[in-house]
Amino acid sequence: MTEWWSYRPSDFLMYSPRVYLRQIEIYNNALWPLQLVMLLVGIGLVWLLLRSRQNDGRIVAIVLAALWLFVGWDYLWSRLSSINWAATYAACGFAVQAILMIVVHVMPSKSRAPLLNGISGPVVAAVAVLLYPGLSLIAGRGLGTSEVFGIMPDPTAIATIGFLASMRQRYDFVLFVIPTLWCIISSATLYAMVDTTWWIPLAMCVLGIAATFA
């Protein structure tokens, strides 16, 4: 891209907020009541983290990997890409994240319990699972556009950062890259759409990363 400095976030927004939100609503309707199941799955993962027993980290990583694949396929690839061609690349990124989760947290033969690294990681994950769906109400978008963990990318990425903050592993810094990039993209998109909650994905991501070093 030439003269990249002359572009603003709004130059990359290729659909109207109305089209974007209608698509989320239609997607949510098509999957209902999977949202409730995902809520329980999310709560279960937070509980596993807090329990922190042998193999719990592996179970969490397997479930998260499956959800990254699911969100990448069913939302990014199958839906968002119809209004944003770049979503196909994002979907590939989500698949890579799933693979990384397996390689770093599941494949190593020595299974280690997640080192519960303070409470902040699980708190970030719990916020993404329990409170993120309510954000659409605060933003005045209505419940139909709620973003639920395991269904939509933002809470899945933020919860993953929270989980990662609790599960220190040797090469796990690699695992932060894609969720962090996603949060940046999401905040920039919401900012371009003049959504009042634009800063939340980024802020949650920063909190999650801070929790890692806490």
Binding site: Y15, V19, R22
Partner: protein, 326 residues
């Protein structure tokens, strides 16, 4: 006053905003523009329904084009949402019913091409359509394949105009487009940019390549192209399509609460959108402006700007001064 203007509305030689070098014959150009307007219509409508639209000739062929077309960035990118596809088809119906012809799109615009194809099907393929699309792919060898895909999405056997979008891999793509034109697979070749980007390269290409069209951003506040590109277009007989006539809607949003100038009746415009459009299409080098909209009443409003008359230079200057003072 308005009637006065109708008699003398002009393409202006030696206007303060234009170099005198590029003056053209007023009467001849006016006859071309207004006279042929009545001929342009929506094939499926009776011509009586289309009041005489202002048109201008494509310099390289003399073919007349209505001075207002239709863009599709964002507004027609509605994915597979059937309800929204129908809304876009209604916008297209209103556009053709008002005598519109040129619709502009690009493979870059998500599902916009697909939406246009849907609308054209729904409207039984209006014969008035002037299809303007783009090549937008960095691989220099992939142009033809992308064009074939775009044709399929529009559901048309060939495009009237293909433009190299934002000059991406322009050397190779222009070559392909010239070959297609020579083989009768395309009527016109063009290049595009927006918001003032790569103007030096645009000028070089305009000066050195036999292109028919150039597409640039131009509006009452963004007038950089008046210095060199628009005069060059007149000199090289290149048609000019104007994108971002409303700065993606910001110009209208920013002026919405402001009072319209009390001399607006002299321009023939009735609202801000029409004033902005009339300003643009009154420049002698501009062939047509392509505002995008997802709203039927807006497309009607925009097309109405092409039913008035062109502004005199003094009135254009007054429009600039007024908008800049807000």
């Amino acid at each position: 006053m308005a009637d006065n203007r109708r008699q003398s509305h002009a393409l202006w030689p030696g206007d303060t905003m234009m170099s005198p070098r590029y003056s053209i014959n007023r009467r001849g150009a006016l006859a071309l523009m207004v006279g042929a307007g009545a001929l342009v219509g929506f094939s499926n409508q009776s011509s009586a329904q289309v009041s005489s639209l202002l048109t201008k000739p494509i310099p390289s062929s003399g073919e007349m084009l209505p001075v207002v077309g239709l863009g599709s960035w964002i507004t027609f990118n509605v994915g597979d949402d059937g309800e929204l596809q129908d809304e876009c088809a209604s916008v297209m119906r209103a556009f053709f019913a008002a005598g519109g012809r040129l619709i502009d799109s690009s493979p870059m615009y998500g599902s916009a091409q697909q939406t246009i194809g849907y609308g054209l099907d729904k409207l039984s393929r209006p014969k008035a359509l002037f299809s303007a699309d783009k090549v937008w792919i960095s691989d220099p060898g992939a142009g033809r394949e992308q064009i074939a895909q775009s044709q399929e999405l529009w559901g048309i056997p060939k495009f009237h105009l293909l433009q190299v979008h934002n000059l991406l891999s322009w050397e190779a793509h222009l070559q392909t487009l010239f070959e297609m034109k020579a083989a009768g697979q395309l009527n016109y070749v063009g290049i595009t940019t927006s918001e003032g980007r790569r103007h030096a390269e645009i000028e070089d290409i305009m000066a050195s390549q036999p292109i028919d069209f150039v597409q640039i951003s131009y509006n009452v506040l963004d007038r950089e192209v008046e210095d060199r590109i628009l005069p060059l277009a007149l000199e090289r007989k290149i048609a000019v399509i104007v994108n971002r006539p409303f700065r993606q809607g910001d110009l209208i949003a920013d002026t919405a609460d402001q009072p319209l100038p009390d001399w607006i009746s002299e321009t023939g415009a009735k609202n801000w959108a029409q004033l902005m459009l009339t300003f643009i299409i009154s420049h002698p080098a501009v062939t047509c402006a392509i505002p995008a909209t997802s709203n039927v009443s807006h497309v009607q409003e925009n097309m109405n700007a092409a039913t008035g008359a062109f502004m005199e230079p003094a009135l254009r200057k007054r429009t600039i001064d007024y908008v800049e003072s807000l």
